[in-house]
């Protein structure tokens, strides 16, 4: 057993940290205030290979896998949580799923652009009335012989109105539920009949675009069906088992950011003639944050290691995600208390941490759903994939 990073992983970590500090950090305040999505950051990430994890080199992959991918995402998310989505939205979502389920033509056509950052990616599952119950989705793709016609709408789609290429899950069999879903590759720039509506009412993740998508007789070519017809649910769960690592890693990193901030503040802020870190009650808070920070990080690496070695990772991923969420929410809450009144000021990052942390409890499977997966596997009710 080895808990250290390899020389390459250390270089990835240092590079990602430098990149985040120089290319992302200077824009945090401005982009938070304006809810502004800065696409050029994603483009730069692509150029530097930060979107090409576990992708064959013939399609532009960077030659590295899960351990390096989570290492990089962690450093980026620690600086600004919103930017973790670039890796999930381009690489671990569409690119990796097309690589697993796509035809050679689909792989060649779509993966290189998603990996290089030339295209922005997305994936669309959730609908206004279909969240955790994925099989209940109403968006329907009708088979018209040489093409499909897509009708319906999707909700809370990350990158929905800023993406070029996305995966869209839709029903293809009337009343088929989870067994009647299929997955489609959608070229948003060249498909009439899609309305993309930005959602501006989110509590947090302001520089990360989120959208409602409305499909009205959108024509999807036959060759854009990804994987077999009616296997969409299986593909979706396979994909989520990967993209959820973005949540697990991002939330662990957010917890770490809160801890770092709180430690600095506790060492600098003086009350009753000494730094507040000298007070036992502050120490209790710091210790609680550190416990969770350390555990969350190792759970992320454990799940990444299982994936890298192609071992069942579903339970480990859910554990890392639930624990990471708790670490982020608790960490942000503690940080705000330690910062005192300044923590409640928008001039300090505590508010952003808390707003951003809360998303993790909901997206890509609520904590309840993940607790269900963890228990279901533990009790032998479902296999650990």
């Amino acid at each position: 057993m080895n808990f250290g990073l390899t020389e390459e992983q250390q270089m990835v970590q240092e590079m990602a940290r430098n990149f985040a500090e120089k290319e992302i950090a200077p824009f945090i305040e401005e982009d938070e205030e304006n809810h502004h999505y800065r696409r050029e950051i994603l483009t730069k990430m692509g150029e530097l290979g930060l979107l090409g994890w576990s992708i064959p080199e013939e399609y532009g992959g960077n030659g590295m896998g899960w351990m390096e991918g989570v290492t990089a995402l962690y450093e980026i998310a620690k600086v600004h949580t919103s930017w973790r989505l670039a890796i999930s939205g381009n690489c671990w979502g569409p690119a990796m799923t097309i690589n697993e389920w796509g035809t050679p033509e689909q792989k060649e056509k779509y993966i290189p652009g998603l990996v290089s950052g030339e295209s922005v990616g997305s994936f669309a599952i959730t609908e206004a009335n279909s969240g955790s119950d994925v099989g209940s989705m109403k968006t329907f793709a009708t088979d018209k012989g040489d093409h499909f016609v897509l009708n319906g709408s999707k909700m809370w789609i990350s990158g929905g109105h800023t993406c070029d290429i996305g995966l869209v899950y839709a029903a293809t069999t009337e009343g088929g539920g989870a067994k009647g879903l299929s997955c489609f590759i959608v070229d948003y720039n060249n498909t009439p009949g899609i309305e993309r509506i930005p959602i501006h009412s989110k509590v947090g993740m302001w520089p990360a675009p989120t959208s409602e998508l409305v499909f009205e007789n959108a024509v999807i070519p036959k060759e854009n069906l990804l994987g077999p017809l009616n296997k969409g649910f299986q593909i979706c769960m396979w994909m989520l088992n990967n993209t959820r690592m973005g949540c697990a890693t991002g939330s662990a990193a957010l917890g770490a950011a809160c801890l770092d901030g709180a430690v600095n503040y506790a060492n600098e802020r003086t009350q009753f003639g000494q730094p507040i870190g000298k007070f036992q009650m502050i120490q209790q808070q710091i210790a609680e944050m550190k416990l969770e920070d350390e555990a969350a990080k190792f759970l992320v690496y454990r799940a990444a290691w299982l994936k890298e070695n192609k071992l069942p990772s579903q339970q480990a991923t859910s554990i890392a995600k639930v624990f990471g969420c708790n670490c982020a929410v608790h960490g942000a809450n503690m940080a705000m208390k330690i910062y005192g009144s300044y923590g409640y000021s928008t001039e300090y990052p505590c508010g952003r941490w808390l707003r951003d942390a809360k998303q993790f409890e909901t997206l890509e499977g609520t904590s309840n759903i993940h607790m269900g997966i963890i228990a279901g596997i533990e009790l032998g009710y479902q296999p650990n994939r």
């Binding site: 020389e7 390459e8 250390q10 270089m11 990835v12 240092e14 590079m15 430098n18 990149f19 150029e47 530097l48 290979g49 930060l50 090409g52 960077n62 030659g63 590295m64 390096e68 990089a72």
Partner: protein, 256 residues
């Protein structure tokens, strides 16, 4: 065009310096490529992109320095040479320059680049001494570099302005902030760096003995700046406070 870049590994610029027994304690300190040397690396890579050839990174130091050379290789340099010898603790600038000169002499080069200063000891000596040892022209603190044939046109920083100089190459040039914006090592670059050659040499490999490069200078003691003390608060009537402040500024701070 073959270029040699002289690299030094330094403490991270945000590192907290701790003295143990009067010596700088490196325990747990994050180390990086000297930021000015990164400008030299970037300039070498840009010239390589324009003219072809190879970029070799050369350094003197311990095992840890290999990581910094690997980073330079990941940025795009072609090979690395590290002179790592157990006798080389606390060597002075003259010795480092002599060793570098011997190492560089084994590599075909048209140009040698380095940072203008190392952010740790700030001596700005090694590159200039290296030029002297190799009998090459040298310009420090360059902000712009153009090469045409065997002629280099450089713009360097001088007090209150800049100066344009022409010189023949090979030469030793040191990079100032503003020369360029160093690139990040890409993920593909990090993967490629693994397969690039990093030669580790001892003094014997260079045909020199420890006595040949015995330092002429030593640093027996280091001290930290005096820590900042808490501010003073005036009390009393405004007029009294102003008088007190003026007195302190004159007698203690000695600024008026």
């Amino acid at each position: 065009m073959n270029i040699v870049v002289s690299l030094k590994q330094t403490f991270d610029t945000e590192a907290k310096i701790v003295l143990t027994g009067g010596k700088i304690d490196a325990t747990g300190v994050n180390v990086v490529i000297n930021p000015y040397d990164e400008f030299a690396i970037e300039e070498a890579l840009k010239l390589k992109e324009k003219f072809g050839g190879e970029v070799t990174v050369v350094s003197v130091g311990g095992d840890k320095v290999e990581a910094s050379i690997r980073t330079a290789l990941a940025m795009g340099c072609d090979q690395g040479v590290l002179v790592n010898d157990p006798t080389l603790e606390n060597v002075d600038e003259w010795a480092v320059a002599e060793i570098l000169a011997k190492a560089v002499a084994q590599i075909p080069y048209d140009l040698i680049l380095a940072g203008r200063i190392a952010v740790d000891d700030g001596s700005s000596q090694v590159a200039v001494r290296l030029a002297d040892s190799l009998n090459l022209p040298s310009v420090s603190s360059i902000l712009k570099l153009d090469i045409e044939g065997d002629k280099a046109t450089v713009v360097r920083e001088i007090d209150g302005g800049t100066e344009t100089l022409e010189l023949s190459i090979p030469a030793v040039l040191t990079a100032q902030k503003g020369l360029n914006e160093p690139r990040y090592p890409s993920m593909m670059g990090i993967m490629k760096a693994k397969k690039k050659e990093l030669k580790v040499l001892t003094l014997a490999d260079l045909g020199i003995s420890a006595a040949d490069v015995a330092s002429k200078m030593s640093a027996p003691k280091f001290s930290l700046p005096t820590p900042r003390t808490a501010g003073k608060k005036m009390s009393g009537e405004p007029a009294e406070q102003a008088a007190e402040l003026a007195k302190l500024l004159r007698e203690e701070a000695k600024v008026i």
